[in-house]
Amino acid sequence: MPELVTIRNQLIEELKESGFNQEQIIAADESRACYGYDATRQTADPMLVLLPENGLQVECALRLAAKRGLKIFPRGAASGMSGGSIPSHDGIVISLTRMKKILEIDQENMIATVEPGVITGELQEVVSRLGLFYPPDPASLAFSTLGGNVAENAGGPRAVKYGVTADYVMGLEAVLINGETIKCGNKCIKSVSGYDLTSLLIGSEGTLAIITKILLKLLPAPEAVKTSLLAFSSMTAAAHAINAMFKNQIEPSTIEFLDHHSINAVRDGLPFTLPEEADTVLLVEIDGTTPGVLAMSQKLKELFKDDALLLIEAQNESEREQLWIARRRLSPAIANLAPHKINEDIAVPRAAIPEVIARLEKLSEKVSLPIVCFGHAGDGNIHVNVMLDKDDPDQARRGHQAIDEIFAVTLELGGTLSGEHGIGNTKSAYFDKEWSPATIAIMRAVKQAFDPDNRLNPGKIFPA
């Protein structure tokens, strides 16, 4: 096999002949490495980086790579938390950040057609000017791409009422590893012709095809939103409160929770005073029509006037922002607790939250490392952070032990390894703990059908 450098040079020539310009081909050593990392801080050095501007260029790149049997690594904003976009040194990164056109906003059918590089928050901003609403709200929405959101099936705090990215994808256009384009789904609300390939591609972490066009369902924008902060004396009390909300027909759009470690990390400098005995804080948002929101938040207040240690209701946008400060400051604040953290995003059925938290509390004592939990109580998705110093071998060992046990507890309670980050290459070693050999075999067969030579984003999802 000729050297990578020779292959690269030949490939670059062919790409240029096919219409790629200088700015779309990144070959210099120093620059390529800027496309080898993501938010997991793994680094890699791909052999070449391409920035196509349309689906035809993606097809072209994949055809030329296929001739030489090269590996392909699709990449959006690379803000992922599971290493989904990390390339290998002999692969080509296809960065979709330049395909960022909103192609159509069909107001009659309430569907947006976008290219994969459109930033999630930008679509939200554009449709909101038309009185429309694209609900999925991953924390990274100000910089993550919709293509990445679809590939990882991203979720966010609003999932409790509005669901996740998958609930909004009506159809896709995607390029297969051999350079052919497939279309799946359409603008029809009812559509049952053939296998649902759209659902298959959603959350496939770039291992089946490269998404080049997305049809997204939109909703009418809610008229009003009300934010409240409630403090409870224990996790169990907070969990009961959540159940009570649903039993009383209160349907919040968001229920975020902070455990006592989280509270202590942000307590100083909050724009309001939290009672000393506050052990769990809930941040609740209710949205809908103005009278509906008013009625529901009234109900919320009556329901918890005795049980909650504290109940603050935001009266305007700036007060709302103040209540969110506690949640927003959390990530940097807990980073101060230890030099490193191992961050997992397990999900369990909502009712199992108190049980998980109690078990993790015991685990924390057992491994003598702080375990900080916060996240989306409404949908059972918990961000579990094991705080440690990885440079201390003993702590590193205990950290890994903690992760093993966290996953074991989660699966035992009917949960899943990942609620919204995906498996990527950081959790693939645990994959066979969640799924049986037969299930994994059928998943592998699907992968095989799309990508027989295992060249598209290899090393992700499946255990090595």
């Binding site: 700015e23 210099a28 800027c34 990392y37 993501d38 690379a78 950040t97 330049r98 990274s140 910089f143």
Partner: protein, 411 residues
């Protein structure tokens, strides 16, 4: 910053990508090497190389130092300082770009303040450039290298601020404050300086403008020429020391205020204030002076990076605009986004700077304002160019000029 401290700084970056949400250059290029996370990665990996590769040099060069990434960074990484320090090392290894070198020579030796220089330069200007029909500023008459048919340059005044001050008389009854006009106001927009001095007088203050003041040094800092930067700082500090009895230094230039606030060794008890901060501090008097008068123009406001991200000043200029225009002050979309000027960036990277500016111009257009205001002469020049490029009618003005206009009404 010392080498070890910024290496520590670099390690703080967790590559979350939040800088991508706000970087004006990334917005246009979509290229990872152009955003803070990528630049930091390059700087960290190639720190010890003797030969800085072209991609490194380009990445370090393509930065407006607007500070948007820093403002949005949950880890608080001091990104602009890391970039400036990288430029210092680049300058040490590769030498300073000749255009910047000669520009700094002009600034350091205060060539612009020589009376004959402005007059000759102004004459040359009128041969090669023509006045814009609706805006202040000039546009080329004939094809010129480095200037396209939309590039706006300031009309050099025949007299700079110091000349005007020689002829000006003020009452000695007023309380003195030190006024640091900055190079742009002094040599290019002296009327802004006169407006500011007028407002000060109305409030009962006399703006003292020592002739020996130098460039604040921010452009030399941004270019990595720390030697020149220290020299300029030292000269200004000597001037401040001479007037040590004056405790307030005010300036109407966002960049100067940002630079001066970073000076070490200001006279004891002395503080630097942007003019909007100073006016807010004297708000009772100013509100009295303005009374019920309101400007009958629709205004909007562009946050200069060096004011908002550099000094955290956002509310004071808005308070001022509400005071003088009431409901005629409207917010544009994304007032915080950089206009693309970035000191000398716009000169070096015209195309990219123009793309950033086009977006800004669209936001101003959509606001429906007749005047876009901003407390930074650099932004104002760039915004004027924005109006030309977008073929729009709006003017770009310093809030202080509008305030002066209102206070002069009926006098």
């Amino acid at each position: 910053m010392t080498t070890s401290t910024w290496q520590q700084e670099l390690k703080k970056c967790v590559k979350c990508g939040a800088c991508m949400a706000v970087c004006p250059i990334y917005r246009q290029t979509g290229r990872e090497e152009m955003v803070a996370r990528g630049k930091l990665n390059l700087i960290e990996r190639l720190n010890d190389e003797d030969q800085l590769p072209p991609g490194w040099v380009e990445a370090v060069d393509y930065c407006l130092l607007c500070g948007a990434c820093e403002e949005n960074c949950s880890k608080g990484v001091k990104i602009t300082e890391i970039i400036a320090d990288a430029r210092r090392r680049q300058t040490e290894k590769l030498g300073l770009n000749p255009i910047k070198k000669s520009a700094f020579y002009l600034l350091k030796n205060r060539i612009l303040s020589l009376p004959r220089f402005l007059k000759i330069a102004s004459l040359v200007q009128w041969i090669l450039w023509r006045r814009l029909p609706r805006h202040s500023g000039l546009i080329r008459r004939l094809p010129l290298p480095g200037f396209d048919d939309k590039t706006v340059i300031p009309a050099l005044p025949l007299q700079h601020l110091d000349d005007h001050l020689n002829k000006r008389q003020t009452s000695s009854q007023l309380k003195p404050v030190l006024y640091f006009p900055g190079c742009a106001t002094r040599y290019l927009f002296p009327y802004m300086g006169l407006d500011l001095l007028y407002v000060l007088e109305q409030l009962g203050f006399q703006g003292i403008v020592p002739k020996e003041l130098n460039c604040c040094g921010i452009v030399t800092w941004g270019a990595g020429d720390l030697k020149s930067n220290r020299e300029l700082q030292q000269r200004n500090l000597e001037v401040f020391q001479k007037h040590a009895e004056i405790k307030e230094i005010v300036t109407g230039c966002a960049s100067c205020a940002h630079a001066l606030k970073e000076y070490e060794g200001l006279p004891e008890g002395c503080e630097v204030l942007d003019i909007s901060e100073f006016l807010f501090r004297n708000r009772e008097k100013l509100e009295q002076l303005v009374g019920e008068k309101k400007l009958e123009k629709k205004l909007t406001y562009h946050d200069p990076c060096h004011l908002r991200k550099g000094q955290g000043i956002t509310s004071q200029p808005r308070w001022l605009l509400k005071l003088i225009a009431g409901d005629n002050f409207v917010e544009m979309q994304h007032p915080e986004r950089c206009c693309g000027a970035g000191g000398t960036f716009g000169l070096a990277h015209k195309k990219l700077s123009r793309e950033i500016l086009n977006e800004k111009a669209r936001d101003i257009d959509a606001s429906g304002a007749e005047v876009v205001t901003s407390g930074c002469p650099g932004c104002l020049l760039q915004l004027t160019e924005g109006a030309v490029v977008a073929d729009s009618q709006w003017q770009a003005e310093h809030p202080i000029s509008l305030l002066a206009e209102l206070l002069r009404e009926g006098k």
